[in-house]
């Protein structure tokens, strides 16, 4: 299986995603460049974290128009697995590949910390290796990670099982205290109706080595290998 990790101007965790896939998980991975619409025959695509174009207008708003994104949209619409982490999630929402939007954290501050998320569905390209209800320890680091959507959309997401991850406390309960950014219904990640596109605010690529604090993020990448 061949992975692609996109670098937009202002991507920051692109190198970490490459390291995670290539060195830690020993995968075949190629860097993709925002100006190049050619996907180089990859089987799965990662949109990394960072501040594409400085995120000066709105997170992900400008990146969505990159030449490579036109190809990503076509790839996703054809059922190809695509995962957006943090800024990648924001870009997927801006592109319309995922419903909803991400706004400023309720605290108005950037927040960097370890969080726990509960896996709400295993029926996505990136969670088949997890157990439903499993709790993963994965860090977040963002200023605009508060997931919002209107009530109709939220209800649809719940009804169709499109909420993939929720922030929970140590024992797996959805509480206000466990919610680091004010996301509606503690939503940390969602998927599209087909389950091949997943976006999440936490950074699974920063949770793949025990030395660095957690290996829980591995499961997301391993799921796509199945």
């Amino acid at each position: 299986m061949k992975w692609g990790v996109i670098t937009f101007p202002g991507s920051l965790d692109d190198r970490d995603a490459l390291h995670c896939l290539e060195v830690v998980l020993e995968q075949h991975v190629v860097p993709l460049w925002h100006k190049d619409p050619d996907l180089h025959g990859v089987d799965a695509i990662i949109l990394p974290g960072g501040f594409s174009y400085g995120d000066y207008l709105r997170c992900g708003a400008i990146a969505r128009f990159s030449p490579v994104m036109q190809s990503v949209v076509a790839f996703a619409n054809a059922g190809g697995p695509v995962m957006g982490m943090c800024n990648g999630f924001q870009i997927l929402c801006e592109s319309g590949l995922l419903p909803g939007a991400l706004i400023r954290n309720q605290s108005l501050s950037y927040v960097c910390e370890w969080t726990r998320v509960r896996v709400e569905t295993t029926r996505t390209a990136f969670t088949t290796a997890c157990r439903a209800g499993e709790i993963l320890r994965i860090p977040i680091k963002h200023g605009e990670g508060c997931y919002v959507a209107d009530d109709t959309v939220l209800q649809q997401l719940e009804d169709n099982g499109q909420v993939v991850f929720r922030y929970v406390n140590d024992v797996g309960e959805v509480t206000a205290q466990a919610n680091p950014n004010g996301a509606l219904r503690n939503i940390a990640g969602v998927t599209n109706a087909r389950g091949n596109v997943v976006g999440l605010m936490p950074h699974p690529e920063h949770a793949v080595e025990t030395l660095l604090g957690s290996e829980d993020g591995r499961k997301l990448f391993l799921s796509a290998l199945r």
Partner: protein, 742 residues
């Protein structure tokens, strides 16, 4: 448009030049300088750029060692870490701009120090910050804290360099003059190091990065080189705004450029912008520089040649390329959507020249601006009230009635409360190397592709420095090194940021001299080299100087990452021991200040040889994997360190039961800050070996108790639930910051 201003002694004075200095300019040039030349002299001869008051003292610091590849003099220092790798690092101040505009001042400070590191070919992979604010009760403090912290995060987070540690202190001595010191470390292959030394007559000088605006003109000469007063407000248009996105592109483009064989030298445009970067590159290379100012990319129309020379617009670099490589350079930058313009050439006449519309507006010998710049032997004098401040009659300090309450008060005091509110606003994960996150004595990052790690810590106790700058300078150095040693990291080198008042005051110059002497002796005793640093004078408002603050950022090497040690207890049943000795020392302590409202007495004594042996014991114990935890005793003394070992544990806190005894006052026993002490925990089976190591080194080892339970119990004094201690300690700072209107 060129400004048509005739230079007179008055104009020179308005530029911050003394009559003597102006006379020296006339002599050097043999004529009256142009307005542009005057501007160039004023910035290059400013305290900030010329180190004219500090140079003769800085020479005393040890700067070499077997692992030191580059000491002071370049954009940053370099330490060889083996495996063909080196680390490049430096600390720098951005105090004055941060006081005027906390968000952008702090942000551009981070941007500047990152450029100093990647300009040497290194990829920046870790930052630290050292912050000093006025009393939390001062009306402006919360505003400044929030602005500075979000500025550091706003820039660092967006540029992709993790902030892995730092320190924050509050003291009314900084009410009118905060300190923002930023540190960055990068890694480079030893065969890929770049220096900023111009060479090759005829080689093109290329300008890359953001366009030039009118930002920060005279930042170096007028802001960083004089004290604050009512007039500072008028200097406000000088405020710079950072653009971390452009900086990120610059990092990538420059590192890509440096992988190819296209350039001779590269330097960022920091303080004094285009002028200082040109002059310094020419100075180091012994060449001249000829600039065509008309070619500089500008942000707005009608920027004058004077402004172009002095602008401190951010995110700009100056490159000396190899002749014929211009197009290749341009292609790399255009791939990253950045501009690159040829703006001059390297010459062999030793002159710094700049032209405008064919007219030469600057022609100054480079040496006059560098090696031959003024140097001052400013008078020094011990402050008259020093002896009085150092005297402390312990009989006047009543013993507490409730020691548990004192501990709680200390743990929730702004200086000792958890700094989580601060560091949770910083990305500490990006780059994927952070093995020990903020929250332990030292941060530890790994070096990818090796088994090695780098340990980092930034420290200074300015109360000690105020009461005895020599001892304070010593302790700043040994504390940094001790933070690394307890973490299992061998300290190697440091970068210092010397924040002081006006060098024109003999008492300040004396503090400076003493602090450096202390640092020097400590470095020699511990085998550390100073490889880079920065001096920030004129930290004064309305004639009142800040406490002397020589901030020390220490860097060390850990040969095997898996041997690192953190400060919190790990296992119930582990034995708790203390290495070192507690004396009856309460002078200059946090306890005296927070509980008794006194800043008095002499700082704790220090035996450098003992300290060195103690650190070696810690390193050996870590290497032999004897320890579950090790924590340096610092502000708040034994009781605070013990509480921290219980409550800084990332998971649920762990309690402890200990018994302490000694023939000294109980408050000194619990809260005194005697140096050279470490609190460790370890399995009982490992204790004999630790005793043997400590015994061989002649270091006192005292068994105190065991880890476990839900309470912190100091027998005969108090017992408190660790969950409460932790909750209060964690939330205190945020509460104090947000409970009051802005």
């Amino acid at each position: 448009m060129r400004q048509n201003i005739t230079v007179t002694p008055q104009v020179a004075q308005d530029h911050g030049l003394t009559p003597d200095e102006y006379q020296r300019i006339l002599t050097t040039l043999g004529r009256t300088p142009t307005f542009e030349e005057l501007g160039v002299f004023s910035v290059m001869w400013s305290e900030h750029c010329s180190y004219k008051s500090s140079r003769r003292f800085l020479r005393n610091l040890p700067t070499t060692g077997p692992e030191i590849l580059q000491g002071p003099g370049e954009n940053a220092g370099i330490v060889d870490v083996g495996d063909g790798l080196a680390v490049v690092f430096k600390i720098e101040s951005h105090n004055h701009p941060s006081f005027i505009e906390p968000y952008h001042g702090a942000a551009t400070g981070v941007g500047g120090i990152i450029r100093d590191v990647f300009t040497m070919g290194a990829r920046p992979i870790a930052s630290l910050n050292s912050l000093r604010f006025g009393a939390l009760t001062h009306p402006r403090t919360p505003y400044l804290v929030k602005g500075v912290v979000s500025g550091i995060g706003g820039y660092g987070n967006c540029v992709g360099v993790p902030t892995v540690g730092g320190e924050v202190y509050f003291d009314e001595g900084y009410n009118g003059n905060i300190l923002v010191n930023a540190f960055t470390l990068g890694t480079v292959r030893t065969d890929r190091i770049f220096r900023a030394r111009a060479a090759g007559v005829g080689n093109p000088v290329i300008y890359v990065g953001s366009r030039t605006g009118r930002d920060g003109i005279h930042g170096a000469s007028l802001l960083a080189s004089r004290e604050f007063d009512a007039k500072s407000e008028e200097l406000r248009p000088a405020v710079q705004v950072g653009d971390p996105f452009t900086e990120k592109l610059l990092i990538e483009a420059c590192l890509e450029l440096m992988q190819r064989d296209l350039i001779v030298a590269i330097q960022d445009m920091g303080a004094a912008g285009l002028t200082s970067s040109s002059v310094e590159m020419a100075g180091r290379g012994g060449t001249g520089f000829a600039l065509n100012l008309k070619a500089i990319p500008t942000r707005e129309a009608n920027i004058s040649p004077y402004e172009l020379l002095l602008s401190e617009s951010q995110e700009r670099m100056l490159i000396v390329a190899k002749a014929g490589c211009e197009e290749d350079v341009r292609a790399i930058f255009s791939r990253w959507d950045l501009e690159a313009e040829v703006v001059g050439t390297v010459t062999d006449d030793g002159q710094f020249r700049a032209s405008w519309d064919g007219e030469e507006v600057v022609r100054i010998p480079v040496a006059a601006l560098t090696d031959d710049a003024p140097v001052y032997e400013r008078p020094t004098a011990e402050p008259v009230d020093l002896a009085e401040r150092q005297s402390l009659d312990l009989a006047t300090i009543p013993l507490p009635t409730d020691y548990g309450q004192v501990l709680l008060q200390l743990l929730t005091s702004p200086n000792l409360a958890s700094k989580e509110w601060v560091y949770h606003q910083y990305d500490s994960f990006v780059c994927g190397n952070t093995v020990v996150q903020p929250g332990s004595d030292a941060a530890i990052i790994r070096l990818k592709g090796t088994t090695k790690g780098i340990g980092l810590s930034v420290d200074c106790n300015s109360r000690y420095c105020l009461l005895d700058p020599y001892r304070g300078g010593q302790i700043a150095v040994v504390e940094g090194a001790r933070n690394l040693a307890v973490s299992g990291v061998r300290p190697v080198a440091l970068s210092d940021c010397l924040n002081f008042g006006s060098p024109e005051k003999p008492e300040v110059m004396w503090q400076f001299q003493q602090a450096i002497a202390g640092m020097r002796d400590a470095c020699l005793a511990l085998g550390l080299a100073v490889v880079s640093g920065n001096v920030s004078f004129y930290n004064e408002t309305e004639g009142r100087a800040i406490p002397p603050t020589p901030t020390i950022a220490t860097v060390g090497i850990l040969a095997d990452l898996t041997n690192h040690v953190t400060q919190w207890f790990k296992n119930a049943g582990d034995v708790i021991v203390m290495l070192g000795e507690t004396k009856e020392e309460l002078g200059a302590s946090e306890y005296l200040a927070s509980i008794h409202g006194r800043t008095a007495g002499a700082p704790p004594t220090l035996d450098l040889a003992y300290e060195k042996r103690l650190q070696d014991v810690c390193l050996t114990a870590a290497q032999e994997r004897l320890l579950s935890s090790a924590h340096d005793l610092a502000e708040g003394g034994f009781a605070v360190a013990l509480a921290e070992a219980c409550i800084t544990r990332p998971e649920q806190p762990l309690g402890a039961t200990v018994a302490v005894s000694g023939k000294i006052r109980p408050d000194a026993l619990l809260f005194g800050e005697s140096q050279s002490r470490v609190l460790a925990s370890l399995p009982r089976t490992a204790l004999p070996r630790l005793q043997a190591i400590a015994g061989a080194a002649n270091i006192t080892l005292t068994e105190l108790g065991v880890v476990g339970g839900a309470d912190l119990n100091i027998v005969d004094y108090f017992s408190m639930p660790v969950s409460i201690l932790r909750q209060e300690w964690r939330t205190a700072l945020a509460q104090k910051l947000t409970n009051r209107p802005q």
